[in-house]
Each structure stands twice: as C-alpha cells, then as structure tokens.
C-alpha cells in the first residue's frame, strides 16, 4: 500500500536493514528504547521514511502511529532525506528584513518543495536557518558550503542552474 504523503523513493539497502535489525535486537527489550532505536535508525538511513518506521514497528511490536507521533514531535527526526545539494536560506533578522523570505518562496516555487523536503530526484533539499554569520551579505543562502549573498528572487533560477 502506498503512503499518501509525497516522498522521495526509498533507496534503502539490505545492509542498512540488517544493521537496523541488529540495533533493534540489542535494544528492544529495554524500557524506553524507542528513542535510541529511532536515533540509530536515522544514523543508518539519514532519515526516517515509512519503510524504516515499518521495520521498527514490526521488529518491536510498537504501533506505527506511536513511532510516527514521536518522529513528528521531535525536530531531530527527519521524514525526508537531505538532497545532494542542501539549500539553507537564512531567515534571521537581518536577512529577513532584506527580503530572504521572498528568496525562500522563490526557491520553494522553483523546486516544488517546502521546508524540510527534498526533490523527488534527491538533488535538492530545502530548509531555513537562523544566521550564518554573514549579515553584511544579507540576504544569504547557502548551498552545501557555498555562500550566495545579496540575493533577489529573480537570481534564484540562475543559481540553481549551476547545479
């Protein structure tokens, strides 16, 4: 059965699954072990897609909804993978007053994804951050380690085209 939430296709390997099962077997009988299991699972896969949460549910007997509830409660858990190119838009005060909100919306529109999401081809992921320490260049966007400053929304397509 397909999950209704739009997601990047799952590319988990049998090795990853085996590693997760080892972790679960070690921890599952301990009280309060769900959080550490989920953290380890995220270490292994980089995020917690439905396939991974199903493995945890089946191996521990904990209902899937309990796992999902925790995964959506804590900011440390990601439901979407990070892209090959991680775009983070500074929405800190200086960048925001200089219009980084519009830059963010333009990126979101161009890529067809929202905050915390990844494009289906796995190339770009989008998130916001708070101050990268380059307020003089506001508004600032980082793509992996590259910094782009003094941006306007109409510069977005050109930058994305580089990748």
């Amino acid at each position: 059965m397909a999950c209704k939430m739009k997601n990047v296709p799952f590319k988990g390997t049998p090795e990853q699954e085996a590693a997760l099962k080892v972790v679960i077997a070690e921890l599952k009988d301990e009280k309060g072990s769900l959080m550490p299991i989920m953290q380890k699972a995220q270490d292994i896969y980089g995020y917690l897609p439905i396939e991974v949460q199903c493995i945890i549910a089946n191996e521990t007997g904990i209902p899937l909804e309990k796992i999902y509830g925790i995964a959506t409660f804590y900011a440390q858990f990601a439901l979407q993978p990070k892209g090959q190119y991680q775009i983070s838009v500074c929405l800190g005060t200086a960048c925001y007053v200089k219009g980084s909100g519009d830059v963010f919306n333009k990126l979101s529109e161009e890529l067809g994804i929202g905050a915390g999401e990844c494009t289906p081809d796995g190339k770009f992921s989008l998130e916001s951050c708070r101050c990268v320490g380059a307020c003089g260049l506001a508004p600032v966007v980082m793509i992996n380690d590259a910094v782009y400053g003094r941006l306007t929304p109409d510069m977005v397509p050109e930058i994305l085209a580089k990748y």
Binding site: M1, I50, E51, N58, L79
Partner: protein, 586 residues
C-alpha cells in the same frame, strides 16, 4: 488500605491513601468537571478543567492526578478556580470550530455543556489562527473533523489502552498538533478495526459515525423497494438513553413501534439471527471437536474482532468460525427464504440493520457477504442514528405504545437476546451444544462463569464424558492476551473462545448512545445494559436457540440441516489474511 482524611469545600472526606483529589471528591459526591480524564485509561491531567485550589499550594492543581495527603484542604469552586477554568475553556474555544447548531453533537456535547455550565459569555475572546485541519471520511464507518478536536486524547487512549491498536495518535507538535494516523494516511488505510470506541468517548463532535440515515430515508421513499429492518439485541438496551431514560432501561416495545412509524415495511428481530448463528456455530464446533478440525474455535460475530484477528493474527484465522454474524445471516435469509415466500425479487429488498456497532458498516461491505448476488445487508445504522431518525421524524418516543416484532423473524430466544453481552454468545452456544451432545435437557440454563464484565473469563464443563474448556474475552487488549497464548500453544486444551471487540460486548459498542466521561467513570454502563438482556432472557419461556419454532421451521422447510450445503452457501463466509505495517514511500 489506610484511609486519608481531607476536607473538600469544608466537608470532611475520608479516602483511601493513594487516591487522587478527584477520586476523593467523587466518593463524597462532589463533582469536579473533567474533560480529558478517563479512569484508568487517560489519566494525563492535560485539559486543566479539573483544577482546584489546595490550601498552601502555590498554584492550582489538577484534581484528576493530584494525590491526597492527610489534612489536605481542597476548594473546588473558589473564584480563582472558576476564573481559571473559564479561561481554559475560552482558549479551547478559540481553536474550536463553533458551528454548534449544525453539529452532530449539539445538545449532547460534553464540551458544549461544560461551556454552558461555566457560563462562558465571550466564546470568541481569544480568537486568532486556527490549527489547519482536514476532514477524514475515508473509513466506511466514521467521520473525523479535527476542527472540532480539543486534543483531550481520549480517543487515542481508548484505541491504545483498551483496544491495543493505536492506529490514531497525536502527531506533530505545539499549535500544529493534531490527532491522526501515521504519515497522515487516511484512516481506511490503517490498522483501524472500525470498533468506534473512539467515537463513544469523544467529548465533542470531532468524531462521529458515518451518517447513513439519508440512505435509509431515500430507500423508504422509493416505492419500488421493500424496506426491511432488523435490530440487534443491544439496541433496545441502549436506545432509551437518547430519550432521557435511565441507563439500563429496556425499550424493546417502543423501539419496534418507532420503527413502524418511521415507515419500515417489516420490523424484524436480530435475536432470531442470533439463534440461527447458534445453530450453525454449535454444529460447527461439534464437527470440529468430533472430526479433528482446528481448535480452539473463535466466535465470528463481532466484525471488529474479525478484522483484528485478520490484522494481527493472520496465522490464526483458520480458528475463526466460518459463520457470518447474526445480522448478515438474517439478511441472507430475508433475501432468500423470505423473499421467495413473499414473491419479492431480492434486488427490490433494502435490508437495513440497526446495530450498537460501527464495524457493521464495514462488515456489510465485505466480500463473501452477498449470498444472493446482492449484499446480505444494504445499510447498517447505529443505535445513535436510529435515535436521530426517530427525532427527525418528530416521533414522541416516550408516549409510544409497546409493539411486537413482525413474523416470522420476530421471535428470538433468550439465548439470542444475551448475544449482546460478553459471554452471551458462549452461553447461548453452550445451551445448544450441550443439549445436542448429551441429548438431555439442561437442568440449569445459566452458565454463570462466563457472565459478568471481567475482561477475560475461563470455564470448564463436563459434557457427555468430555471436558469442554472455554474462554471469553472482550476488549481487544484482552483478546490480544488470549491470542498470544493461542499462538504459543498454551490454549490447546480449549475448544471454544468467544471474543467481542468492545469491552463488555455489544451493549457497550461504538454505536451506542454516548455517555459523558464522569458517567462512564462512575457507573458500569456495560453491566447495566447487559442486565436488560439477562432480565429479558430470564423472563422468556423460550431460552434455547434450538427450541425456537421459527428456526426449526426454516431448517425443515428450507435449509435442511445445520452446516448443510444450503446453510453453508447462505450463512457462512471467509476471511482474509491482512498484512500490516507494509507501506512504501511511492
């Protein structure tokens, strides 16, 4: 246990050590309003409607979780307390869809009642953003409108603690928190078993059964259709509550009168279908025991339980009796035997059943529930929907005369009647199975060991030189406990296991009238409603399914013998093995 002496509003109260302030207040007959609290199921102190003042305490405390101490002085109605409750209520109202006039719950809503009791004058005082929400009407049995949800978590608690399923829960965080399913999937795609216990405990209009009354009205207004209704045993034990009668009032006669006045062409009694189920089920059990079939056999009349078994114990579905539920059997008989007798094309019969159950809405859509090429049951409505129909037709229920069901499916034995209570199916089956095996009449018809609202009951009987061991469970957490034992081979010496999805059985089904939280906590609804059925059984002269003259006639004239070819075609069904937690991203 030692008692602790405290004062509540100046009144001396003695309560067992370890009690909460709420327990102590209830002992003393002092009501403290509660919203999220459900005894032993949801004790989370989250809604803060039960706040009280404790002398010497820095801040207000939540009575539902705060333990009593010797000498404690509690005040439940000080201006500070009232002010706090009002503010909490106003904040809840600020994120609540207040379309109360058109709400399914209006007039019987716990949340609305509380707002009125508190004397809220400005319900929109804190209005601002509202948590975004979507309506989930994907499942056949229910409707979830989170814009009316107050996040009390009663539904998720009952789903997890009582039923052991947890297909719904609180997702996300802070203002975005909502009650939903994993990965926002529609409820229909989850492990939900349609029991409706979440609906029964919801204090607002956020959860309700899918309303099928419009379909019933449309059928009644179609002159080409013969609209036949049947009512389950438990409906008569609950329906009165919708019209101001005390819990545990038998409204059998008035219910029949109301159904006639609504305009049903025939008003039949599912107790008859229950008797038919017993004939088939007892026969199946005897066959399995004597011919070495899969044992222990599980009952199959609770559709919530059946789906639970398919979901979580697919390896054990062979243990399920192949018998359809009483309502489905009766529907199949009405569309075959009765239709032929009356010369009506089964396609022109609309079979409506009134059930204490929301899972019946799912059951009647299942495969292999259409013995005559048309569904055995077309529309399944709950006790609550029947009340809605009666009110909508402006029928003054309280002054109705007592009327009798129509023949031939109006006669049910006492054994069929007690089907609505946990242990009832077992007792009814034992009455027939024991007499069939021994050929002698039972000196005593009551099987007391399987009665009562205990979650798991076991008993052992000597029948014709053989030891028969039986187990009865209600509430699916209890069922899970029993099933794990069956899976591990610990119940191999048992022959028959009765499971009902809802705690206490159908009398406490998800489609029964809703009672507020404090009533559910302080009154045993299950026992009071079950007593209606046991009292009816006691006052009947016909108390065994196999003695029901109309059952005998149907086998003589039409079906042949129990478990025969015709009976098998009409009255038995099949199950599927479901896979859970098998979802993919794309």
């Amino acid at each position: 246990m030692e008692n602790v002496n405290i004062k509540i509003n100046g009144l001396a109260v003695s309560a067992p050590a370890g009690s909460t302030i709420l327990d102590a207040a209830r002992l003393a007959g002092i009501r403290i309003p509660t919203l999220c609290f459900m005894k032993e199921i949801n004790e989370i102190g989250a809604c803060r409607m039960c706040v009280v003042e404790v002398k010497g305490a820095r801040s207000l405390v939540t009575a539902c979780v705060y333990p009593v101490n010797e000498g404690m002085e509690v005040f439940t109605n000080t201006p500070r307390v009232i002010e706090s409750r009002k503010k909490t209520m106003q904040l809840l109202l600020s994120n609540h869809n207040r379309s109360c006039l058109s709400c399914v719950r209006s007039g019987a809503c716990e949340f609305q009642t509380m707002a009125v009791e508190l004397g809220i004058e400005d319900e929109g005082y804190y209005d601002g953003d509202k948590t975004p929400s979507v309506i989930d009407d994907s499942a056949v049995h229910m409707y979830r409108d989170n814009s009316k949800c107050i996040l009390c978590r009663r539904c998720t608690a009952v789903c997890e603690a009582t039923q052991g399923i947890a297909c719904i829960g609180a997702n996300h965080r802070g203002f975005k928190t909502d009650i939903g399913s994993p990965f926002e999937m529609p409820l229909a795609d989850t492990t939900c078993i349609h029991c409706g216990q979440c609906i029964a405990v919801c204090p607002t209009g956020a959860l309700s059964e899918r309303d099928d009354t419009a379909k019933v009205i449309a059928a009644l207004n179609d002159p080409s259709k013969t609209v036949v209704v049947q009512t389950a045993p438990s409906v008569r034990a609950g329906l009165g509550e919708e019209f101001g009668y005390p819990i545990g009032t038998n409204v059998d006669g008035k219910m029949v009168a109301a159904l006639r006045r609504i305009g049903f062409d025939q008003v039949f009694n599912t107790d008859w279908g229950a008797d038919l189920t017993i004939m088939e089920e007892a026969n199946e059990l005897i066959e399995r025991v004597t011919k070495g079939g899969v044992l222990p056999m599980f009952t199959s009349c609770s559709p919530g339980w059946v789906k639970f078994c398919e979901n979580y114990f697919p390896d054990l579905t062979e243990h399920l009796s192949s018998c359809k539920s009483p309502a489905q059997m009766q529907g199949a008989m009405i569309k075959s035997y009765w239709a032929q007798k009356k010369g009506i094309d089964p396609k022109d019969i609309v079979m409506v059943d009134v059930m204490p159950c929301t899972a019946k809405k799912f059951e009647c859509t299942r495969d292999d529930q259409d013995a005559n090429g048309v569904p055995d049951v077309d529309i399944s409505i709950t006790t609550r929907e029947l009340a809605k129909l009666i009110k909508g037709f402006a029928i003054d229920f309280t002054i109705l005369p007592d009327e009798k069901f129509d023949d031939p499916f109006g006669i049910g034995s006492g054994a069929g009647t007690i089907f609505g209570a946990t242990g009832g199916v077992m007792e009814a089956a034992l009455r027939t199975a024991v007499e069939t095996i021994t050929g002698a009449e039972l000196p005593k018809l009551e099987f007391d060991d399987v009665r009562g609202t205990k979650g798991i009951k076991t008993a052992s009987y000597e029948v014709g030189g053989m030891t028969v061991k039986v187990c009865v469970a209600s509430g699916l957490s209890n069922a899970r406990e029993v099933m794990e034992k069956v899976r591990n081979g610990e119940m191999n010496d048992y022959q028959f296991i009765e499971i009902m999805a809802c705690p206490g059985g159908c009398v406490n089904g998800g489609g029964q009238p809703r009672q507020p939280g404090y009533v559910r906590d302080t009154v045993d609804i299950r026992a009071l409603r079950a007593k209606v059925l046991y009292d009816m059984d006691n006052s009947e002269s016909l108390r065994k399914s196999h003695d029901n003259p109309c059952i005998k006639a149907v086998y003589d004239e039409y079906l042949g013998k129990p478990g025969g070819e015709k009976a098998h075609h009409l009255l038995h069904t099949s199950y599927v093995k479901r896979e859970i937690n098998n979802y993919t991203s794309d």
